[in-house]
């Protein structure tokens, strides 16, 4: 065996493993915080979001060989995370999201009642509507990107967003009417 063949063998034998580890490390460094926050908003429970984010990362690591373009690792992982959140939401059939602690001054313009009404309305959305809402208004993804992330047609995403906003509006206006009566 020539030196070149030996070295090629060395490279082949060690080949993708280290690259995969390092690429995964970069994915974690880049995506972990945002993924956890997104999962928290979708699930409404930080502890559950932690578990789902971990599960999604483990799933990504197990399927790393299926990633064809490392430059698209972020979007690819985003789909894994969204699917994991959707599975968790559907399996639990949540009726209400438990939001995490209330920040002190982040949106002081709205009253507590208004904020509560919005939170309850968002929490009442079904899984697909909530995913569309969070991707659109927290991650600021365009509709086309949401369709890519969720695997739904663009028209379906638009429909989900319309329904989600309608539900939120209804909840908010109901609270306003109740407030005016008082």
């Amino acid at each position: 065996m020539t030196l070149g063949e030996r070295m090629a063998e060395t490279e082949a034998a060690t080949g993708e493993r280290l690259e995969r580890e390092q690429a995964f490390g970069r994915l974690v460094a880049r995506e972990l915080a945002g993924s956890y926050r997104t999962a928290s908003l979708l699930l409404g429970d930080p502890a559950e979001a932690e578990d789902v984010t971990q599960e999604a990362l483990e799933r990504a690591w197990q399927r790393w060989d299926q990633l064809r373009d490392p430059n698209l690792a972020g979007a690819w992982f985003g789909r894994i995370l969204i699917n994991a959140c959707r599975d968790r939401l559907r399996s639990k059939q949540r009726s209400r999201v438990r939001w995490i602690e209330e920040p002190m001054t982040s949106d002081s313009a709205a009253s507590f009642a208004e904020r509560d009404a919005l939170d309850r309305a968002i929490a009442g959305l079904n899984a697909d509507q909530r995913i569309a809402l969070v991707l659109r208004y927290y991650l600021d993804l365009p509709v086309e990107a949401i369709a890519e992330q969720t695997g739904a047609p663009v028209g379906t995403v638009k429909s989900r967003l319309r329904l989600a906003l309608g539900a939120v509006r209804a909840g908010y206006e109901a609270q306003e009417r109740a407030g005016n009566k008082r």
Partner: protein, 482 residues
């Protein structure tokens, strides 16, 4: 309320409800998923010299120091309740003949280097030229000059194109810190003034740079003054004078001072986010852990670091359950104690000659000894023992820089239980240099050095230098020609 107002309210609620901090446990568990190997994976870490970055020079100094001390290779017992029984040291095999090519074919001396991926690696030669390979070492770039001939430590490359290095003058006050960045494999470099590090001329100072990805990086710097040793420890110490750190989130274009950075350039990284910094020397047995790529740190006291009060020969990994684990040699000198900070100079340590494996269950705030095992040096690995962590519990150990009169090849040891038990899986052969790292038990690499004082087992002087690869567990080595 119109649609725009409603969308604005929804945005505000979502952003207000999103948690700010990521749980530490999630960061650590995520780091452990690929059983991440450590980036700086030398057990005996001769590199990161603040003066020159020449790992061989530092290793040579260490070797001389150890020999001069006339170290007694004794393995002491211990009365600590959490000790485990000391495993028997592996038996060495018969001498295996060398297969190194003659050194004349490899005139280039390698000063430092690292593999970024199995296909991509960089080397710095003695003329401070950079060479990069992107095909696993088959071909190398033409020499490219580094941006400065007195860089602090070595460059760090994230891939074959993007690299970073840091420099500051040795004796000015204050020290201007400059980061150099390349996006074309070192062909061109741009410089960024990061800030200034207060310094007293003539002091030791440290400086290191680490990028966790193309956007996020940190610079840590410290300045020291010679002073008395910490309480209960022998010899001289270094007193921290001033420390500073900076972070960037835009690829190094702008830098922001860190509030309370650790003060050392001895850093190890288990992942881009999870790292540990240890004292430069006699700085106290304190380890600082970051879980966010260096933006914030948590410090805790290590158990029993030995006479120098600074852990050395380190392996840093994260267990599968997210527990940070640090293994370090305890000096076989004459002053230490099993209780940190309460040693009696001149008395032997209960852990002298041992490797302490400490774990933290609170992200680095406190450390407990998990177990210990005998130092590997007496097995024949020598003072330049190198341990490569292939996983949290799976390590490979070997050595290098044989004594001039040695005729025994250096063993290669493997453990699958975090060092509790070791098995000899091969020999290093007659490489006259520092073993450099392993991908697995078969595939490794070494840097040879033309020290003209070493000898092959046959007695032939080994004027060899350059980079060598093995794919048979170190039985045979093949020089990389350039």
């Amino acid at each position: 309320m119109n649609d725009e107002m409603l969308e604005g309210l929804v945005r505000a609620r979502l952003r207000a409800n999103a948690p700010h901090d990521v749980p530490e446990r999630l960061v650590l568990r995520a780091t452990a998923i690929p059983q991440a190997r450590v980036r700086n994976r030398r057990w005996w870490q001769p590199g990161r010299s603040a003066a020159s970055g020449n790992r061989f020079a530092v290793a040579g100094i260490a070797l001389v120091a150890v020999l001069a001390l006339g170290v007694v290779l004794a393995i002491s017992g211990s009365d600590r309740p959490n000790d485990v029984a000391a495993p028997a040291l592996p038996t060495l095999p018969a001498v295996t003949g060398p297969s190194l090519p003659p050194g004349a074919a490899h005139p280039t001396r390698v000063n430092d280097g690292a593999w970024v991926t199995p296909a991509t690696a960089w080397l710095v030669d003695d003329s401070y030229n950079l060479r990069i390979t992107t095909d696993g070492g088959l071909t190398w770039s033409e020499p490219r000059p580094l941006p400065h001939d007195d860089l602090r430590g070595s460059p760090q490359f994230l891939d074959g194109s993007n690299g970073v290095a840091v420099w500051a003058p040795q004796e000015t006050n204050p020290l201007p810190v400059v980061v150099y960045i390349t996006h074309d494999g070192g062909t061109t470099w741009s410089s960024v003034n990061v800030g200034t590090l207060p310094s007293q001329a003539g002091n030791a100072n440290s400086l290191t740079v680490h990028f966790s990805d193309l956007a996020h990086g940190i610079v840590l710097g410290g300045d020291y003054l010679a002073g008395p040793a910490p309480s209960g420890h022998a010899g001289a110490g270094l007193q921290k004078q001033a420390c500073a750190g900076w972070s960037t989130a835009d690829g190094g274009a702008t830098w922001t001072p860190l509030a309370d950075p650790p003060c050392s350039d001895r850093d190890w990284w288990a992942s881009p986010l999870v790292g540990i910094v240890l004292p430069i020397s006699a700085g106290g047995p304190v380890a600082s852990v970051t879980l966010d790529g260096g933006l914030s740190w948590r410090s805790g006291t290590l158990p029993d670091v030995g006479v120098d009060d600074a852990p050395f020969s380190v392996v840093f990994t994260v267990r599968a359950d997210g527990t940070p684990r640090l293994a370090y040699r305890v000096d076989r000198g004459t002053a230490s104690s099993s209780a940190p900070g309460s040693a009696t100079p001149g008395s032997p340590s209960s852990a002298a000659g041992m490797v302490i494996v400490a774990e933290s269950h609170d992200g680095g705030a406190t450390w407990q000894e998990a177990y210990r095992f005998p130092d590997l040096e007496p097995t024949g690995l020598g003072p330049s023992t190198t341990v490569t962590a292939l996983g949290p519990d799976h390590w490979i150990a070997t050595g290098g820089v044989p004594e001039p009169t040695t005729t025994t090849p250096v063993p290669i040891l493997e453990t699958a239980d975090g060092g509790r038990t070791w098995t000899q899986v091969g020999t290093l052969g007659a490489i006259a240099g520092v073993s450099w790292g392993w991908f697995d038990r078969l595939h490794g690499m070494a840097l040879g050095q033309d020290n003209s004082g070493c000898a092959l087992p046959s007695g032939t002087p080994c004027h060899v230098s350059g980079l060598f690869l093995t794919n048979d567990g170190g039985q045979t080595w093949h020089g990389v020609p350039f």
